[in-house]
């Protein structure tokens, strides 16, 4: 298998002519790169050793926020460098870091209301509704909508709408009202997860049961078993059917806590 960007593939690269090269401009400087590369790999192909602007290389960590445009267009386009394939004549600049306000708070002392959010981030009212944030989101999140929901006190809505946020900061980089939308978003998600979604009753019970050492005996038995016996017990264990009901119960309840 080849790798993400395989240095050891160099012999192959040299022996086979590379077709479909496209010109791109990295920070205004022209390079010809293979048309199949992502922007991230195009930087590396051009000779860059990336330090900033490169993280998971899989579209989830938000390290490689990138802006670009084409010569015949006034529009600023955005993407994650590791996910966006190069196109001819792209003018590319990475924005791996953008300073943004993050309020200090102790989640345990907050209430899940709109006024909590607006008190911590009063600049939220400066939103002019221009929608640049939404157009700047590489994850296709309706950023302006979750901001307006946060203003309206709809914490749940803001949390659900912003769930896919990778916190790359492109929204904040382009916002004329100087907001840090992604920091507001995580505040709403944590308020939602902590206070609005009901806690799991069975989780509380499970923690209690462990604290009361209800499983200690069973575990002690397993820990003492020799491998052959352990394999036997392993092979005989019941397996919950994949599409069975949530309240499925096994035959053997010796090592469970039944109500």
């Amino acid at each position: 298998m080849s790798k993400d960007s395989a240095p050891k593939n160099k012999s192959k690269k040299q022996s086979e002519p590379i077709h479909d090269m496209v010109p791109i401009f990295l920070m205004g400087k022209k390079y010809d790169v293979p048309a199949t590369l992502t922007i991230q790999k195009a930087f590396e192909y051009a000779g860059y050793q990336l330090v900033r602007g490169c993280g998971c290389r899989g579209g989830i960590c938000g390290a490689c926020g990138t802006v670009y445009r084409f010569p015949d267009s006034y529009r600023i386009e955005v993407g994650l460098a590791c996910q966006t394939v190069v196109e001819p004549n792209m003018y590319i600049a990475q924005i791996p870091f953008f300073p943004a306000n993050r309020a200090q708070y102790d989640l345990e002392k907050l209430e899940p209301t709109g006024s909590t959010v607006t008190a911590l981030y009063p600049e939220i009212y400066k939103c002019v509704g221009c929608g640049t944030c939404t157009r700047s989101c590489p994850m296709d999140i309706d950023v302006m909508e979750y901001i307006s929901r946060a203003i309206r006190g709809d914490i749940a809505g803001a949390a659900e709408l912003s769930f896919d946020c990778v916190m790359c900061g492109l929204c904040a980089a382009r916002c004329p009202a100087e907001e840090a939308q992604y920091n507001i978003a995580i505040l709403t998600r944590r308020l939602y997860g902590r206070y609005i979604v009901p806690g799991a009753r069975h989780l509380k019970d499970a923690v209690e049961n462990i604290k009361k050492k209800k499983f200690e005996k069973g575990l002690g038995k397993l820990k003492k078993m020799n491998v052959d016996k352990l394999k036997e017990v392993y092979n005989e264990r019941e397996t919950e059917p994949q599409f069975g009901p949530e309240d499925w119960e096994p035959e053997n309840k010796d090592y469970l806590v039944t109500k």
Binding site: M1, S2, K3, D4, S5, K8, K10, K13, T36, L37, K41, E44, A46, Y48, Q49, L50, V51, G55, C56, R57, G58, G59, Q83, V85, Q104, Y105, L107, D140, F163, D164, M167, R189, R190, Y192, G193, R194, Y195, V197, P198, G199, R201, H202, L203, A206, N209, I210, F215, L219, L222, L230, Y234, R237, E238, T239, E240, Q242, F243, Y255, L256, V257
Partner: protein, 557 residues
């Protein structure tokens, strides 16, 4: 890049067998799972069993141990720093606890050390949160439903997955700690997928006997990581984060206590001395070493740094002879290569099928078994799907999920992957995905006990950098659990050490000099290599050849 006409033709074969496979699935008739004996036979196809992939370590406390060539090369290398040039007498920073690594384990450790009264410095190579934790998609195991599950069964499953080689004490900590960390994360506001009444949704993973995989959409790791990172950012007075500052060597004082580390500022290229009363190694894994030339799902920074530093300081290595290949990494289109396709797809009902559209393996075998079966199907049986770049893959039949569980399920449960493939003009609710095993997880690592102590006083380790809890193979959903459970244990233990056991003395790097001497004595040719590696080199080799400056004078490097 959408599927080529050739691949589209082959998809027809998958579509032909799909209705029958769906029917069987609906009836609960599964492809027969392999017996323990059959598993053993098929594991011969696993890359771990290729002898040419391994070599012996010639120095240090695990001398004679045969592990991946790529890690051995880094162990058979010299320090990045000249020890005589470093002045350790004036540390740049001091803290109770130094945490090395800003992923799930490091951040959990920092938060818990703080809860236990410690002032913490967290040093991380890239940004805080840039780690494999962020990329974990599937879920986190915990026996939270005691009417059908308990730590007893979780223990049994973990041992079976690890071929009964796991360290029992560590597994006990893992399964008992599991519900506690789920509760901790719930309290921190992590948005787990739940039913309306607050019950946590859970599902199966490979090798689980009960549905105990908790999840947050298909970005469970990202949700956990960004939540605990946000919590750390709420305590900036107690937790100071140094980004783009990887550690390159540990510091040991004259009383033999680990007392911090030498950091390297990746941008200014300065070395920075951090003195600490206890140190936690949480640098994660090593997929970016590309063992045996495999592609990887890992983060850019996964280069085994912690293993190297701690090994030089005398800590032994365990279970590093096994490497986990995730059975299903994307292989098409090329720009998605290596990306993890979570096991949840198989948990939700998607079959693995060959070029004929036939199933050849039960889709929920433990990962090493599943990966071996796919490699065998492609390489020995010759029934892989040929790709435009000359490689092979097998189909992961994702459209089955919507047929079985109702339209919209894939979009709802796998939003991340749906969007990603949509960008390539592939609709995974209509067409299957092409997958092949990809380097995923470092099963082994630094030897620790159930308090996360290493053999070096004052040095703790937790998460992927440590070894033992997963034995020779980890089950899905036990890594997010590992980082949070053992991160928290390490944080508490290190804070305790800093307050009660630490003894001040002169800082030294004598262990590094000693290691260098041993390399020489054993006649190891380091070939000019230095380690830790810090970052993989993906820059264009043709450009490298033209970088002709050999000596630097003046302002330009």
């Amino acid at each position: 890049m959408p599927y080529t006409p050739e691949l589209k033709k082959l998809i027809k074969r998958v579509e032909k067998t799909r209705p029958e496979r769906v029917e069987r699935k609906k009836k609960g008739e599964e492809f027969p799972a392999l017996s323990l004996k059959e598993r053993e036979d098929i594991l011969k196809y696993h890359p771990d069993f290729k002898d040419e992939g391994r070599s012996e370590i010639k120095v240090g406390s695990s001398k004679g141990y045969k592990i991946s060539n790529e890690i051995v090369d880094l162990l058979h290398a010299e320090s990045r720093v000249s020890t005589e040039l470093l002045d350790l007498s004036n540390p740049d920073y001091e803290a109770d606890v130094l945490v090395i690594g800003g992923g799930g384990a490091g951040t959990s450790a920092a938060l818990t050390a703080r809860e236990n009264g410690a002032k913490v410095i967290l040093a991380t190579k890239l940004r805080h949160g840039d780690a494999n934790t962020m990329m974990a998609e599937g879920g986190i195991q915990a026996a939270t439903k005691n009417t059908k599950d308990s730590p007893y069964y979780h223990y049994l499953d973990a041992m079976g997955g690890g071929h009964f080689t796991n360290d029992p004490d560590l597994v006990e900590e893992l399964v008992n700690g599991a519900p506690l960390v789920i509760q901790w994360l719930e309290k921190l506001g992590a948005m787990f997928s739940k039913f309306d009444d607050g019950r946590l949704k859970t599902m199966h993973g490979g090798g689980t006997s009960r549905k105990r995989m908790h999840y947050a959409g298909d970005i469970t790791g990202a949700e956990i990581m960004r939540t605990i990172r946000d919590e750390a950012r709420s305590h900036t007075d107690d937790i100071k984060v140094l980004e783009f500052s990887p550690a390159v060597e540990l510091i040991i004082n004259k009383k033999g206590i680990c007392s911090g580390a030498v950091l390297y500022n990746l941008e200014t290229e300065e070395y920075i001395i951090v003195k600490a009363k206890a140190t936690i190694m949480a640098t994660g894994g090593s997929g970016r070493l590309h063992m045996q030339n495999f592609m990887t799902t890992n983060h850019y920074g996964a280069t085994a740094d912690g293993l190297i530093m701690a090994y030089r300081a005398g800590v032994s290595l365990k279970f590093l002879h096994t490497v986990q290949y995730h059975p299903t990494g994307a292989v098409f289109p090329e720009q998605s290569e290596g990306l993890l396709i979570t096991e949840k797809f198989r948990g939700a009902g998607a079959n693995i099928v060959n070029v004929e559209g036939k199933q050849f393996v039960y889709e929920r075998e433990p990962r090493d078994v599943e990966a071996s079966a796919i490699i065998r199907e492609c390489i020995e049986a010759g029934k892989g799907i040929p790709l435009p770049n000359g490689k092979y893959g097998v189909w992961l039949d994702s459209p089955m999920i919507d047929i079985i569980k109702g339209e919209g399920t894939v979009r709802k449960e796998f939003p991340g992957k749906w969007i990603l493939f949509k960008r390539y003009d592939i609709d995974i609710t209509k067409d299957p995905m092409l997958v092949y095993p990809t380097l995923h997880y470092q099963n082994g690592g630094l030897e620790i006990n159930s308090k996360c102590e290493t053999s070096l006083p004052g040095l703790y380790a937790g998460g992927e950098v440590s070894g033992g809890v997963h034995g020779e193979n980890r089950l899905m959903g036990n890594s997010l659990l590992d980082v949070t459970v053992f991160g928290r244990i390490a944080g508490e233990a290190a804070a305790g050490f800093a307050h009660n056991k630490y003894k001040d003395a002169k800082l030294t790097l004598e262990h590094v000099d000693k290691y260098h001497k041993e390399l020489k004595r054993e006649g190891v040719d380091t070939k000019g290599r230095v380690s830790p590696m810090l970052l993989p080199d993906y820059s264009n080799p043709d450009v490298r050849k033209r970088q002709l400056t050999t000596q630097y004078l003046g302002t330009m490097r």
